[in-house]
């Protein structure tokens, strides 16, 4: 049995195709509301390893929603394969490890509010693992890749040191582009009202299959492809 180090994990995540990998010790989740704490999923959890894969940069330049949907679905599959493999390797080292689904299935679903929630908030975990900051569109924004990222995570009882929190700003101080462009006004700068978002964000085509039909809040962000503009205090 061999104890895996943070550097080995990072190296392995990169080898498997992750563009970013950060670690949040479970202590960082102090104060988390019920359902957001990794120990709710794995009692004895000590670390959350968060990874991200990037969208191909041109994805948003095209007008085809089918092409965007294809990329989004492939990224979810790719991320799930990476977290699955990392979990196996942590187990080979004698640790408990659970891969968190990067998209479906939702365990929690409130039909009235049409609100789904994963077993761990990957965006909040990514903030705590130093991968970026939350934008007003509620997407994670990374300095290098902007919001063009798909997230995944593994929770484990392996004891690892936390990465530092990101020290840059996700949004321009007075920017409201994402809030104003949203056709259903689902954003309030801090949260997204899923019921409103779901009214337009996806549809089933007549030929079968689903496509994601709205990604305007991602698209209009000036920091979509990385943080390029300086921040001023609001």
């Amino acid at each position: 049995m061999k104890t895996i180090t943070a550097e080995e994990l990072r190296s392995q995540a990169k080898h498997l195709g992750a563009d970013l990998c950060g670690i949040a010790a479970v202590e960082c989740f102090s104060g988390a509301p019920a359902g957001f704490h990794p120990c709710d999923v794995l009692p004895g959890c000590k670390s959350v390893i968060v990874m991200a894969v990037r969208f191909p940069a041109s994805t948003m330049d095209g007008s085809s929603q089918a092409a965007y949907t294809f990329v989004r679905n492939r990224l979810a599959d790719r991320m799930d394969a990476i977290t699955f493999q990392i979990a196996l390797e942590l187990e080979d080292g004698g640790n408990c490890a659970i891969a968190i689904p990067s998209s479906e299935p939702y365990e929690y679903w409130d039909d009235g509010r049409r609100h789904g929630q994963g077993i761990l908030s990957l965006k909040h975990a990514a903030v705590l693992a130093g991968l970026g900051r939350m934008g007003k569109n509620t997407l994670l924004v990374n300095q290098l890749y902007g919001n063009m990222l798909w997230l995944g995570a593994v929770i484990s009882d392996v004891d690892l040191e936390s990465d530092k929190l990101a020290d840059y700003e996700a949004c321009l101080s007075d920017c409201r582009l994402c809030l104003d462009v949203c056709p259903t006004k689902a954003l309030d700068g801090l949260t997204i009202e899923q019921r409103k978002c779901r009214e337009i964000c996806a549809k089933c085509t007549e030929g079968g299959g689903g496509v994601y039909t709205c990604n305007l809040c991602r698209k209009v962000c000036p920091n979509r492809q990385g943080i390029r503009l300086p921040h001023t205090a609001r």
Binding site: S30, G31, V127, L128, K136, L165, T191
Partner: protein
């Protein structure tokens, strides 16, 4: 920003999700389990505009003026704590 209907009060258990979001929006992690002692929230209607935690940690809703909300929170909380401290001193408590 109109200050009508804005209240400041100690944080409650049901505030945890909003506090968690505010902190993360500013790239901060809660340093310890949140408790009503040392945690104050600024509320307008149903919206949490800001939170004051510990000795000086403040997080502000991204759509509101950081300078203004932080100023209100710090002055109010410091005033509340000073008042409480003075009352304790007048009662001869430590």
């Amino acid at each position: 920003m109109k200050t009508d209907n804005i209240i400041i009060r100690p944080g409650r258990k049901e505030d945890r999700a909003d506090i968690w979001r505010l902190l993360h929006c500013e790239g901060k992690a809660a340093k310890e389990e949140l408790s009503s002692e040392g945690c104050f929230v600024l509320i307008k209607g149903e919206k949490m505009l800001g939170v004051f935690i510990g000795e000086s940690d403040v997080a502000v809703h991204p759509l509101y003026s950081q300078v203004l909300v932080e100023d209100i929170l710090v002055k109010s909380v410091t005033g509340l704590l000073d008042t409480a401290c003075s009352k304790r001193q007048m009662r001869g408590e430590n």
